[in-house]
């Protein structure tokens, strides 16, 4: 960490020096243009955090820039400039931006919303904003905007230094933010939002919050723009500007912070110089490069340059330039006693008359059973019996069509998965749905977010895990792989991490969907032994779906057989294994009556 921190610090320091020295070195036209570029770059930075890190493709930041600018323009035009009014205008811009962003977020982010949808909603936002400006008539200056109001009494050089230093500070803060635990969580949400919600993370709320904060930053940039240029026109809040921001970010390199900042400055300055001579051709060139970059270099230009430099560096020095620079958190004991349902007499899981239908097709019908702590309940049944659907209905309050599910006597209402986790129910998935670019330690930290929170600007030095999760990572050797990114893990390790993450939630009820699929025999045995031990020692109520019946027979204390969406049999292992009926539906043979 320290090496990278020193590097980042010295770069930031150099940039600050440049921001102060710039006006004395550069000609006044360039200084003039650069002030504007800095403000655009700050706005592009917010686009990068939203899109590059959190995966929210937004065309709407232009509208927030415009709101901030018009707040200043309108205030200064009608109330004149004064320090009080300057503060008032800033606050008004922030408040309106925050409110608009909150509404936009509410419209765009909900359980099950498509990631394409937010792109369209945010595309509409600048269009609506500009229409409002047009309909404002003389008050907003309609299509020509407002000009010539009184503003801050600052020289161009001062603006340059203020905006330059401001951009450096913003970029530095953003760097700490995206590298913090919270920043890693944003990446996790981008990579697999569904999985995050099953880790108890309220992803829609986090995305709305992020959008509000980024809107406020864009609004401040717009405010400074209005103060500096003494002109506000609809173009600065328009849909064209919104898409230009995205283009700059894409060309510079999404998810790199520095790429979008440099990309914006370089393109905006070049545009200022070239567009006078060849206005349309220049836009055509930018558009063509943009399409080319998206198709051929989706990560943008800066990462390509950086990789090339890194190669040259390691060729010259014989060392790798890209060594991981974050210390791995130390694993410590989690505070005990936070399990839901501790001390409750009610059954861990009480499912009554559970039904799930898609149109006229009933996938589950009248499923009723109870499960207690310390029970390891095997759920078996042929393909299409509704096993995974059952898991889904237990872990997502919106899934079931009818019936009730209660955990420790508390009925689970229609809440999204992150709410169900609060009832003490943790679920693992059939496919290894991990987060490809996150390390093992980061995945486990993510699973602890619900209980331990996340640092906005830093990484926690300690990772508190309950006994059970620590046991799994120690027994499978994951504790030696904490720095490895998930995509480099073997399949067996991924399965183990999936299990450790669910256990890190400190659930009281564990839902495991084929935890051993694709594993070798020794790996199965290991996972089986761990599960049996966990159930015995910690009293977890565990439901497990498995295809391998030998495995289920070895570890279960009870078995439920599902067939065509109904509970066919619920009994001890001996009863189920000895049942002729079960043999019939499984191994084919005579299909007589009862099964249908």
């Amino acid at each position: 960490m320290s090496g990278r921190l020193a590097l980042a610090g010295s770069i930031a320091g150099l940039c600050v020096v440049a921001a102060i020295a710039g006006p004395y070195v550069l000609d006044s036209y360039t200084v003039n243009i650069l002030v504007r570029s800095f403000l655009y770059a700050a706005t592009a930075l917010t686009v990068d955090i939203l899109w590059g890190y959190a995966g929210i493709l937004t065309f709407g930041q232009a509208a927030f820039f415009g709101i901030g600018a018009y707040a200043a323009g309108i205030t200064f035009t009608y109330l004149d400039f004064s320090p009080q009014n300057a503060v008032l205008a800033l606050l008004a811009g922030l408040a309106v931006s925050a409110a608009v962003a909150a509404v936009t977020g509410w419209i765009s982010f909900f359980h099950g919303a498509s990631p394409l949808y937010v792109a369209i909603v945010t595309l509409a936002m600048p269009i609506i904003f500009v229409q409002i400006l047009y309909s404002g008539g003389t008050f907003t200056g309609s299509s020509s905007g407002l000009v010539g109001y009184n503003t801050f009494d600052l020289s161009v050089e001062s603006w340059f230094t203020i905006c330059g230093v401001g951009l450096v500070v913003l970029t530095t803060v953003a760097w700490f933010f995206v590298n913090s635990d919270f920043g890693r969580m944003l990446v996790a949400i981008r990579e697999n939002e569904q999985r995050c919600t099953y880790l108890g993370i309220n992803a829609p709320r986090i995305k709305i919050l992020l959008m509000v904060v980024m809107a406020m930053i864009a609004s401040v940039a717009g405010y400074a723009y209005a103060g500096y240029t003494v002109v506000v026109a609809p173009e600065i809040g328009s849909f064209v500007f919104g898409t230009e921001l995205v283009m700059w970010v894409a060309l510079g390199g999404r998810g790199t912070l520095i790429g979008p900042v440099l990309g914006t400055i370089v393109i905006d300055v070049t545009t200022a110089y070239l567009s006078g001579n060849l206005p349309f051709v220049w836009k055509l060139i930018i558009g063509s490069i943009f399409v080319l970059v998206i198709v051929a270099l989706p990560q943008g230009i800066i990462p390509v340059v950086r990789t090339a430099l890194g190669r040259m560096w390691s060729a010259a020095t014989g060392r790798s330039a890209m060594a991981s620079s974050f210390t791995v958190p130390a694993i410590v004991d989690a505070r005990a006693g936070r399990r839901a349902g501790a001390g409750s007499d009610a059954p861990a899981l009480d499912v009554a008359d559970l039904t799930r239908s898609y149109g006229s097709l009933k996938v589950l019908e009248g499923v009723t059973f109870k499960a207690l702590g310390s029970e390891l309940l095997g759920i078996i049944g042929p393909n299409g019996a509704g096993k995974t659907t059952l898991m889904r209905c237990l872990s997502d309050g919106y899934e079931r069509t009818g019936g009730t599910v209660a955990a420790f006597g508390q009925t689970i209402a229609r809440v999204p998965p992150h709410g169900v986790v609060g009832f003490g129910i943790g679920r693992s998935f059939q496919t290894t749905s991990l987060f490809e670019t996150l390390t093992v330690a980061e995945c486990l930290t993510l699973a602890r977010y619900r209980l331990d929170g996340a640092g906005m600007m830093s990484r926690m030095p300690e990772l508190a895990l309950p006994d059970s999760a620590r046991h799994v990572i120690a027994a499978t050797g994951l504790d030696r792989e904490m720095e490895i990114e998930c995509r480099h893990l073997s399949h067996g390790m991924k399965r183990a991490l999936e299990l450790a993450m669910v256990l890190a939630l400190e659930p009281s009820v564990l839902l495991l969907d084929e935890p051993t699929a694709g594993l070798t025999k020794p790996e199965r045995t290991l996972i089986g032994n761990i599960l049996v031990e966990l159930v015995q020692r910690e009293g977890l109520c565990t439901l497990i779906i498995e295809h391998d019946l030998d495995f289920v027979r070895d570890i279960s204390t009870r078995i439920i057989v599902l067939h065509q969406g109904k509970v066919l049999l619920d009994g001890s292992v001996a009863e189920v294994v000895g049942s002729e009926l079960v043999r019939t539906i499984y191994a084919g043979g005579e299909h007589k009556g009862a099964a249908r």
Binding site: L57, I120, A124, I128, Q131, V281, L284, G287, V291
Partner: protein
């Protein structure tokens, strides 16, 4: 009253024609084509070229559709095909394409507003109300577009294969259908439809290099609320287009311009299936 009703119907017809190409591409390719506005513009300028050459204004429609298809073929091959697995990037790349198309047109035709000859001029009396003949013609044109799409989808082998790909692409491939070819043809067809729509709307206003942009967002919102179904699209165009006409007439034209976007966004938030059966 009658004028209002006719306004609603003709507006819905225009919106349907404009959105149909987008809907087809989204349905089969699962890609939101942000170059749709660009294809509309191509259609508009095809009509302009026909006018400038002194040809019959009726020729504008086949010329526009052909220009759109050719352009669509090039775009699908070089830009869309590499992006099938990256739908968000496809949005950006097609948006970039829209910019390229707009700039090329600016360079060739200039950025000023120009006018196109109308194939049908004048007005007629509809139940005592004088109404533009061309707007009435648009109802016929939209109906023809709808019928054409329906015939293509339901009465040809290619349409059958396209529907199979929409419903279940893996199964379609397992039956030997070349889904890549189906996508290519669909994109060309959708682009051709967009350009045709561009030629249809130009006599109502004028052409300029950014004429497609304002239509883009409304068309998207309509497509989103119609869950990739032509019938739902017609219903959505009628309901939301109708609301737009009413708000424009009785409240303010500026707010009227936002009606479709706002209503559609709220509708999707409350009922994600929109006008579809869902």
């Amino acid at each position: 009253m009658i004028a209002l009703a006719l306004d609603i119907i003709t507006t819905a017809a225009i919106l349907f024609a404009v959105a149909a190409g987008l809907l087809i591409i989204l349905g089969v390719l699962k890609i939101v084509n942000f170059a749709h506005g660009g294809f509309l513009t191509i259609g508009g300028y095809s009509a302009l070229v026909v006018t400038q050459l002194g040809w019959s204004p009726w020729l504008a429609y086949p010329v526009a559709a052909l220009a759109g298809m050719v352009m669509g073929a090039v775009v699908e091959r070089f830009v869309i095909r590499p992006l099938y697995d990256r739908p968000l990037d496809a949005i950006l790349a097609t948006w970039g394409l829209g910019i390229i198309i707009g700039q090329l047109i600016t360079i060739i035709f200039g950025r000023e507003i120009q006018f196109v000859q109308t194939p049908i001029a004048g007005a007629t009396s509809v139940i005592g109300e004088t109404y533009s003949l061309y707007r009435l013609f648009l109802i016929v044109a939209a109906a023809a577009v709808a019928a054409g799409i329906a015939a293509l989808l339901n009465a040809t082998r290619l349409g059958l294969e396209a529907r199979a790909v929409i419903m279940n692409e893996p199964l379609a491939r397992g039956l030997g259908i070349n889904s890549g070819h189906v996508r290519f043809v669909t994109f060309c067809f959708g682009a051709g439809l967009a350009s045709l729509a561009g030629a249809l709307i130009t006599p109502l206003s004028s052409v300029d290099p950014n004429m497609g942009v304002p239509w883009l967002v409304n068309a998207f919102m309509l497509v989103l609320v119609s869950s990739v179904s032509l019938t739902s699209l017609a219903a959505a165009a009628l309901a939301l287009g109708g609301a737009q006409v009413l708000v424009s007439s009785f409240v303010s034209p500026v707010i009227g311009g936002l009606t479709i976007v706002v209503l559609a966004a709220l509708l999707l938030r409350i009922r994600p299936a929109g006008f579809g059966r869902g």
